[in-house]
Amino acid sequence: MASTDPHGQPLFRTLAQTIERGIVDGSYPEETQIPSTNEFALHLRINPATANKGINLLVDAGLLYKRRGIGMFVAEGARGRLLAQRTERFAEDYVDPMVAEGQRLGLQREDIVELVSERAVSAGGAVIDAAGEPASTDGRQPAEASVRRSPGAAEAGGRR
């Protein structure tokens, strides 16, 4: 197991993101217990101190809390808050790079917009609002939530 993940991110941050994904996709429901620091460390083959650091990131962010003598639990409202954060960052994290690449390729604004419209419709995607509910677009029935069930812990186990 590398001390950074393939994107060069420190491992403890990768663990934090793995847990966040699990919270968002429902693998770790609110008010339920998540695996312990040691279990994560063993599963990912990293030092328990590193795993601890990742978990503490989420405790500091108010997404996890500790029940003394029992373990770490997902905080109430964690999922909603994570979705809100990601929605805020959606433009910066996803739209900006796409637009930049489109410009590099010489695509016009209209081309990019049309591509997005086509793809969004064909994927049957719907925007999830901050409360975690699918938002309807222009009065049509919202299609099924497009949040892919990321493998969560299984994905972490695949990382070696």
């Binding site: 197991m1 590398a2 001390s3 991110q9 040691n38 460390a41 990912l44 990293i46 328990p48």
Partner: protein, 331 residues
């Protein structure tokens, strides 16, 4: 594909990874505290001016080329050898000939000498005699895990089996300071996995200080909380796992663009193939670097610890102390 050592002046590492000065006071609470440690054999300087601390209950990686001084250093810390100069304390005391310290140590290596008639099971029965924290049940579990034949003579074992014996002894010792000197020698990947799992699991349940030397860095770098890099008898880098992960990065793409983007940086190593190049660069990429990369079609990426160590070995460099004393770069 050509690998060109870059003609750069002596490298300067960020303070986060620079070793301690020999003048820094010893740390009495450290598991291991070392200042200005040296070991000479006549004219040969196996180790010089090595200073560092290892906090208790840390898994610390000891990295460096063959012959760099890793085993020499571990021999000194484990009290099997005496330094030529410098101070060394283990749990606050000098380890050499100190029974109180020695009972807290276990040095596990594949080429351990045993009495000629010993079978595997004799190792298991004698270890508890001098390792007060020995866990016999755990030892039995490990023997099963590595499928060790209890009645086989040690001298008839394969290299991998010898390593397994060392691992059993090293882990079941539960010694507060455990040395693992290239513990994976001869082990196939499956056996290595079992070793890593056993090590992590037992460390999590029974925290202790573990100093491990390794060349298979990629497989275990996630284990280390601290990393010591030895080069040519000197301590090059003393860093936390996070700090060493951020020590360098790679810039790849058209060779001219790579050169232009890295001209003002310290470059450890550059690989060129045709018109493309990939450079390992000290430091972290800032906003300006990202901008230049985006503009010139360059890719910025991480450096795995294995590649970083290899690049450090290839680059001309010298320690800060060497420069301060007006010595030339070691390469």
């Amino acid at each position: 594909m050509s690998t060109a050592p870059t003609a750069t002046p002596v490298l300067e590492f960020p303070p986060t990874v620079r070793p301690l000065s020999a003048d820094a006071p010893m740390s009495p609470d450290a598991a291991v505290s070392v200042r200005g440690l040296a070991r000479r054999y006549g004219e040969v300087r196996a180790l010089q001016d090595v200073s560092f601390d290892i906090a208790p209950n840390t898994i610390c990686g000891l990295l460096g080329a063959n012959g760099a001084g890793k085993t020499t250093l571990m021999s000194l810390i484990s009290g099997q050898d005496r330094p030529s100069a410098g101070t060394l304390q283990v749990f606050g005391r000098e380890p050499f000939d100190d029974a109180a310290v020695l009972t807290q140590l276990c040095f596990a290596r594949e080429n351990q000498a045993y009495p000629d008639t010993f079978a595997v099971r004799h190792v298991l029965t004698t270890c508890p005699l001098f390792l007060p924290h020995w866990d016999a049940d755990f030892a039995d579990e490990l023997v099963e895990t590595f499928r060790l034949p209890l009645n086989h003579k040690i001298r008839k074992l394969s290299r991998g089996q010898l390593s397994a014996v060392a691992i059993v002894a090293g882990l079941a010792s539960r010694a507060p300071l455990t040395f693992l000197d290239e513990p994976y020698l001869g082990l196939d990947p499956t056996a290595r996995r079992r070793f890593y799992d056993a090590l992590l699991r037992d460390y999590a349940e029974h925290p202790r200080t573990i100093l491990m030397s390794t060349h298979l860095i990629g497989e275990v770098e996630g284990f280390f909380e601290q990393v010591l890099v030895i080069d040519d008898g000197r301590l090059l880098v003393d860093a936390s796992a996070e700090d060493i992960a951020e020590l360098a990065f790679t810039v790849s793409g058209p060779a001219k663009a790579v050169e232009a983007a890295t001209g003002d940086r310290q470059v450890l190593e550059t690989h060129r193939i045709g018109g493309l190049a990939s450079a390992v660069v000290l430091g972290t990429p800032d906003a300006a670097m990202h901008r230049r990369a985006a503009e010139s079609g360059l890719e910025i990426g991480p450096v795995g610890l294995q590649d970083l160590i290899a690049a450090l070995g290839a680059a001309p460099h010298g320690s800060a102390e060497a420069r301060a004393h007006g010595q030339e770069a070691t390469r």
